[in-house]
């Protein structure tokens, strides 16, 4: 699943940051999930748990879902991303490559595909907490 690829990125990034900050044991990893990516939280959490490395064996994962918000560059209309209104094929295309929103979605006011995803795109590692080792 696609969630596994993103989970691998989160784990690798968390380990890199922990090393840079001399964190020996990571106790918490906070992830922001943009709604556009339509991640399955259960699969994503399972993947993260499976990919855990020894330095994060007791870490908890905290998810924050960021609702998708879009703004038309032509008429300025702002609207919310509504995954429930999409067909399965369109939903899957946007799941894999969120920029496919520009292929399938249009501004509800003027019909333009020239809009901006102002919030809710992608998966981000928001923060990690842990115990710093002795110098």
């Amino acid at each position: 699943m696609h969630e596994w690829a993103l989970a691998e990125g989160v784990i690798t990034t968390a380990n890199r940051i922990a090393k840079e900050k001399s964190i020996e044991q990571i106790i918490q990893i906070a992830v922001r999930i943009g709604e556009l990516q339509q991640i399955e939280p259960d699969i994503f959490r399972f993947a993260l748990e499976q990919l855990k490395t020894p330095s994060m064996k007791d870490a908890e994962f905290i998810f924050e879902t960021i609702p998708g918000k879009l703004r038309c560059r032509v008429c300025g209309e702002e609207w919310k991303f509504s995954p429930d209104t999409l067909s399965e094929d369109v939903s899957e295309a946007i799941h894999f490559v969120p920029e496919m929103a520009h292929v399938y979605l249009k501004c509800p006011s003027c019909g333009s595909p020239d809009f901006e995803v102002t919030e809710g795109r992608g998966v981000w590692l928001a923060s990690i907490k842990g115990v710093v080792g002795d110098e």
Binding site: M1, H2, W4, A5, L6, E8, G9, V10, T12, T13, R16, I17, R32, E92, A93, F96, V97, P98, E99, M100, H102, V103, Y104, P113, D114, R121, G122, V123, W124, L125, A126
Partner: protein
């Protein structure tokens, strides 16, 4: 906040021995046909080859190679399906035949997404069909893909070569390896492009004559590989092995 995708791109490409970005300063010089034919020619030589179409707003390699009805397999990411023996990846799996009106930042995000989730496996060569110019896609592939090599396509026209000259200067400034320059669509051979390439300190790989039969072979790899155009690319493929 950190973008976790950036961390895994190198890992996705670590089993790819050589990455060749087929590029040009100008559109319409035949990058996509050279990239598609080069990928096929390398495959015929017995290499494991991937083809990635990064021209998101004007993808064409699926038309050239007659690829339809395929879809990537999901397995800890996505695995590009085999098309004519090539691991083939294109945005058209998701955009189908619809226009993808993407601005620069969206192009960058889509490139990062595809590079982060695509599992190429072991390849001898990954050929990338690049969009024209030195904008976001070119800068992103240079930034994101370690060890990328550029193969430059031009026509005999000064108009095309002047854009290529700027591209070569950029690649030199960024210390990106350039395999060489291919002169495509030659109708009346002259030494102009070869001389200019030498002046710019790059390797002139050779010319491909304009082949009027090529258009009729579009979408049919059997006919494509029997054209004069393909045989010329096949010879040039020796330079990139």
């Amino acid at each position: 906040m950190s973008d976790p995708r950036l961390e895994i791109i190198g890992r996705r490409l670590e089993k790819v021995k050589k990455i060749i970005a087929v590029s040009s300063g100008k559109g319409g010089v035949g990058k996509s046909v050279v990239a598609s034919s080069l990928a096929l020619a390398l495959r015929e030589k017995g290499y494991k080859v991937g083809l990635l179409d990064l021209d998101f707003t004007s993808p064409a390699t699926h038309v050239i190679l007659g690829i339809e009805g395929l879809y990537p397999e999901e397995e800890y990411g996505i695995v590009p399906p085999l098309a004519h023996g090539l691991r083939y990846m294109s945005i058209t799996y998701y955009s189908l035949d619809k226009p993808a009106p993407l601005r620069g930042a969206d192009v960058s995000d889509a490139i990062i997404e595809l590079l982060a989730i695509t599992r190429w496996g072991e390849l001898d060569h990954l050929v990338i069909d690049m969009p024209p110019g030195i904008g976001d896609a070119t800068l992103d592939t240079i930034r994101l893909i370690p060890g990328i090599n550029f193969l430059i396509v031009t026509t005999p026209s000064r108009v095309a070569y002047e854009t290529v000259r700027k591209q070569l200067a950029l690649l030199k400034a960024l210390r990106v390896p350039v395999i060489g320059v291919i002169e495509n669509m030659v109708m009346s051979p002259t030494a102009y492009i070869e001389e200019q390439t030498a002046k710019d300190g790059e390797r002139y790989l050779g010319m491909i004559e304009y082949d009027p039969k090529w258009e009729g072979a579009l979408g049919d790899t059997e006919r494509l590989t029997s054209t004069k155009f393909y045989r010329a690319v096949e010879e040039l493929a020796q330079s990139v092995e």
